[in-house]
Each structure stands twice: as structure tokens, then as C-alpha cells.
Point group: C2
Chain length 376, copies 2
């Protein structure tokens, strides 16, 4: 399986029509597609077009309720809890982060936790909403259980990403990472590419290391056991318990503060996923001179970039830097999409009665492609 490149404009036109046809308002569609396309622009292929199938299947199966609106069910000047009523994760997250930002501007801090939502795309998108306004932003989400706790053999915790964005010059710090060693999306990419998984990534149903992506993914969907290791692997000697702990921290921000559904029970329902999110915005001006704080941080980031490289290495990146390079490249040269993902986009067009060839002119979909298509 190979890749085909499409311009940002092509994918933007396609996504705009997809979400319109799903029944979202123009404003809602714009938010959703911006989150998806930002992932592809940033080079986070796992969370762009590759993930469209999950929203397609979620709406088709009824676990995503496209007409739902987020509702504030508890609120104070520094905090809020939102019931997402099983709507699109992107819409709930966008609403919640804006609320956190609003609070941080007034009171210094805003912490907003969301229950009964859905997969929200890249956490970094929401964290960056805060840093774009001069604030520190944190975004987290739980998800269907995929992380096997240290010494376990059953996935009990989601990939549970947390993103942190902080204003800096010449570009913000943007850390966005699952608390598993890799995301489920990465396994989906290896599955689509037919490649064996690297060592120290995944476990089979007995809790032993496993390099076969289709086996791991199908076990997870069938709840047969196994899954992805925490950051730090499956051995405390390499810090397994630390990745497991960070997964729990994500859970605390999302399903605990919102009193929602924990990762081990997410996606076990017929009519919802139960996925929860958490957002924090912190106003540096409530700690002194925000410009001085930003300068101190920017200087440190620059020293990191300039520090001596390991033998054979040419560059030390600060977090968010690769994304900036990727966006420049992809806006100029196009966004690569896997041929197996194109199969999924073609299926989506059939579902929505859209003309695939209108967007992806001349592209021939391989209808015989074999890959584990999941049960999203």
C-alpha cells in the first residue's frame, strides 16, 4: 500500500462537504474539519483523514449524536463540568476550552471537565487555542481502553493523551502525547501499511510482547486482552509504572473531575462512547510579568535547540517545532494519505451519497485491499 498526496484545499473542500452532509451547521463543520486537517498539516497522520472512519462509523452506529449540544451542568468562576450529550468530541472540546480560556482571563485559572463526549481528535489543537491567546493550555481525553497497566494483560486505560501549550518565541511550546508508548492511531497505520510493530509497543492477550498489529487491534476491539504498553514499556525498570501513572493523571482530569465514564468502560455502550475530556487554562499574568515569563521560557527553549547533539544526530527539537516544519511542507507539497485510508473515504462517500471522483479526480480506489478495518 502506498500514499497519494492531496492539496490542503482538496481535503478542505471534501471535509467541508462531508460534515455538511452529516447535518452539522457551517460553524460546527468548520470546527470539526479544522481539528482534523490541523492534524494532517502537523504531520500527525494518525489523527487526520486516517481517523475519518471513526466519525463515520460513530455516527452510523449511533454512538455519536450529531445534533447534540454541550450543556454546562456545574460552574464556578474557576471551574465547570459539561455534559456533552454524546455529541462530536471536537464540538464539546472547543466549547469547553473556550470556557476555560474565558475563566483564565478573568480569574487566572479555568479548569473544565467534560463527560459523555466522543473522540476529539488531537489534544494539541485545544491546548494551542489557549497559547494563541497568551495563556498556558492543557487538554486531555480518556478513550477506549488500550493501555495495559504494569503487570496486567487486559487494557484498562485509554491511550489517554495530554497536550500542553505555552506561549514562546519564535513559536509556542506544544507538547501533545499519548501516555501509552504509542497511540492506537499508530497501530492503525502499521496495520494499514502491513508492517510489523516495533519491539516494546504492544502486548498479546496473555500480556506478552506482540508485534502483529492486526492481532493487537482485533483483540482490543473484541476485548480479548492485550493492548499497548504504557510509555516506559511493560517493565518498571524502564518506567512502565510512570506511563501508567500519566495515563491515570489524564483520567483524573477527564473522567474523574467530570464524574464520567472511566476508560475501561468507554466504548462498551450501544448508544454512546462515554469518552471524557479535561481542559485547563492558566493566565501567566497572574504570576507576574507575562512578557518576562515568556522571555525566560523562550530563552531556555533556544538553549535546548542549540545544545550539543548526540553522535550521528543533527537537530534537537523543542515540542511543536516538527509540526511547524510539517505544516510548511504540507501546505506547499500536499498532504499524504494512505491508499487504505482512501478506501475508507470512498466508503464514506457511498454512505453520504457523495461523488468521490468530484474531490479525488482520477484516483482509483483498490476495492480488494485487505487490512483490519476494525469496528470503530
Amino acid at each position: 500500500m502506498g500514499y497519494v498526496k492531496w492539496s490542503y484545499e482538496t481535503l478542505n473542500r471534501f471535509c467541508t462537504d462531508v460534515f455538511h452532509n452529516f447535518g452539522f451547521s457551517d460553524e460546527e463543520g468548520k470546527i470539526i474539519k479544522d481539528v482534523l486537517l490541523t492534524a494532517d498539516l502537523y504531520g500527525i497522520e494518525s489523527h487526520g483523514m486516517q481517523r475519518m472512519v471513526r466519525y463515520h462509523k460513530g455516527i452510523e452506529k449511533g454512538t455519536i449524536h450529531p445534533t447534540a449540544k454541550p450543556e454546562v451542568v456545574f460552574e464556578t468562576p474557576v471551574s465547570a463540568v459539561i455534559d456533552g450529550h454524546n455529541g462530536m468530541g471536537q464540538l464539546n472540546a472547543y466549547f469547553a476550552m473556550n470556557k476555560a480560556i474565558e475563566k483564565a482571563k478573568t480569574t487566572g485559572v479555568g479548569i473544565v471537565s467534560v463527560r459523555e463526549s466522543n473522540h476529539f481528535g488531537i489534544a494539541g489543537y485545544y491546548a494551542k487555542m489557549a497559547s494563541d491567546q497568551g495563556l498556558i493550555g492543557v487538554a486531555a481525553t480518556n478513550s477506549e481502553a488500550i493501555m495495559v497497566p504494569t503487570f496486567g494483560r487486559k487494557a484498562m486505560i485509554g491511550s489517554n493523551p495530554i497536550a500542553v501549550a505555552v506561549p514562546a518565541d519564535p513559536f509556542p511550546f506544544l507538547f501533545d502525547a499519548s501516555t501509552t508508548v504509542v497511540t492506537r492511531g499508530k497501530l492503525e497505520m502499521y496495520n494499514k501499511a502491513g508492517k510489523p510493530l516495533p519491539e516494546r509497543w504492544a502486548l498479546d492477550a496473555n500480556g506478552n510482547p506482540c508485534s502483529d498489529a492486526p492481532t493487537v487491534l482485533s483483540n482490543i476491539v473484541a476485548k480479548k486482552g492485550g493492548g499497548i504498553m504504557p510509555l516506559g514499556g511493560n517493565d518498571p525498570l524502564t518506567g512502565s509504572h510512570k506511563g501508567y501513572g500519566w495515563g491515570m493523571v489524564c483520567e483524573i482530569l477527564s473522567s474523574i473531575l467530570s464524574n464520567g465514564v472511566n476508560s475501561d468502560q468507554c466504548c462498551t455502550f450501544k448508544d454512546k462512547t462515554g469518552i471524557c475530556h479535561g481542559f485547563i487554562a492558566i493566565n501567566p499574568a497572574f504570576f507576574g510579568d507575562a512578557e518576562a515569563i515568556k522571555k525566560n521560557f523562550s530563552d531556555y527553549l533556544q538553549r535546548l535547540r542549540e545544545s550539543p547533539k548526540a553522535e550521528g544526530q543533527e537537530q534537537i527539537y523543542t515540542h511543536g517545532e516538527k509540526e511547524i516544519f510539517a505544516e510548511k511542507d504540507r501546505r506547499e507539497n500536499g498532504i499524504p494519505v494512505n491508499d487504505n485510508t482512501m478506501v475508507e473515504l470512498s466508503n464514506l462517500c457511498s454512505y453520504l451519497h457523495m461523488d468521490f471522483s468530484k474531490y479525488f479526480e482520477g484516483y482509483q480506489v483498490n476495492k480488494d485491499s485487505k487490512f483490519f478495518a476494525g469496528n470503530y
Copy 2:
């Protein structure tokens, strides 16, 4: 080198006299020794008696100012910045976390960042101060650079631990971990034990993996290069950039919000270390029914403990559980102290004109012991 066990009471008596003789008030001494002894009781040997030498040398060299008092230099209802005036880290941290707790009780959240402080012991001690009062607690500190960023060969970030404590039944969640794959204290223990370091822990001066603890520690002290890998190792395939990112998050809470000294410059001064801390307290009652939130979390933790074990494993721990078992064991059977640490305690007695044998009756210090004694 072997170990000798001492009762809690013996070490408590010793520590009380040590800090009295250093000139601390009874109240101050009580805080400092409680942080140290809690580490030993919790089985975190790296941060108990083993670390006494650092405080001894810090006071002797003048980087720790024993008479300093923390000063609030910026404050709002949700935030504060504290200048620690280079006093003992434990005293600054205790003061700062209490301030965060006070704010969280009133406004829902308290974030307090401290600059110009010193090594504060275990981060978990302060996080647990919050959970003991029904709040979520976070404690972090930067430290002398020891973490080598991904693709680098010079330590630029501290071991930068972060602890998170959350009320739960039958015992709180208490996650306390360095963002390096292991702490510097662990390397100090391997050094004292004369053992080679496990793979994927440390790097030599050229940025290549290295298993020799004395080499790594002496390189760090001499700023020659090398250090400890981030959680996730030195390869992005195993998540190196994630551990590096968590190290930066710790830096943001400590040296960035307080506009203090970043890890790469900590401990490069003659008359101070510049170490910074960060503390957060969050009041669950500002998110709804605190008891319901606690029950949701406790139930999830219980399902984690009861979930199926990997082949060959008998127990899945939740964070903070091992510490509870360790404390029970050590209160009953004594606290093990390494013979090389006993050499350091004997040197401390000489420095303070204390009678070593009054506390450690019958114990013969090995004056010929060879280990890398550092330059703390």
C-alpha cells in the same frame, strides 16, 4: 556493600538532633526530617538518609541558607509566587503547598510557584498534603540538569519529578515520578552498591548508552556531558520525546511560572542552587459532589487492582499502594540504610560534632569504603 536496618525511632532521633544542630527551629526541623523519613518509610531509599549528604554539603558550601524564610512576592486569590531566598527546599515547599491548599479551599484552585529554593526531597510528600485534606495535589520541582534531551548529549533538564495525589478509598492515589527514566538518586544507589546500570538508563559524554554509574555521575557533576535518558529512553520510537516533554512540563510549573532559574543553570552558582518548585491544589467540591467523585475514582482503582495479570505476575498495583506496604514493613522491621550512606552520616556527625555511636550503637563505619562521593 551491604545494608543495616535501623528503627524509625533511631533515625527520627538522629534527624531531629541533626537539624537542631544545623540551627533550624524545632518546627522547621520537624518538617524537614518528616519529609526525609517519609521517603525512607515509603521505600524510596534514594530520597531518605541516602540524600542527607546533599543537605549537609549544601549548608557547608553555602548554597543552602538555613536561616532564610520564604517570601510571597506576587499573589492573587488563585496564585502566588514565592521567593525561597535559597532556604531549605522542604521549608519553602511546605509553606507553598499550604498556601495552594488554602487557596483551593476558598476559590477552588491554588497554583503556587517557588523560585530560589533548594532540593525539597520527595515531591509526593507535598502532593499528599493536599489529598490528606480532600483535595487533588500536584507538586513538581526542577533540579540540576541530568536529563539529556532527545538527540542530545548534554544534560539540559533536571530529573524533574512531578507528583499527583488524589483522595480515594481505601487509600489515596499517589503518583510520584521523575520524568527521567530513573532518578539521579537511583544512580547514586547503584554507585554505592557498585552495580552496573541497566540498559536504556544513561548516556556517556558523547550521547551513547553507558552502564557505568560513577562515570555518569562524575560527568554530570563536572558538566562534561551525558546524563540520564528521559522516560521513554533515547529513541522517539520508544517515546523519548514524551519523557523529555514531561520534563518540560515540570519546568513550566516550577521555573517558568516563578520566572526563576531553569534546570540547565541550576547548581551552577556558588552561593545558591536556584532550584524552583511548583504546586497545585484543586478542590473536587468545585466540580460537583466530592464524595461521588471520590467513589467513581476508588471504584476504578479497585477494578485496576482486580484486572487480569500478565503471565508470571501476581499483582497490579495502583500508585501509592507499594508505599503503604513499605511503610508497614519498615515501621515493624526497620529501615534499611546502605553502609556507604552510613559513612556519609558518620561524616555528618563529625561536621556537627555529634556522637555517631550515641545513635548507631555498635555499628562500625567502613572508613576505607570506595564510592563516588560526588560534589553535592
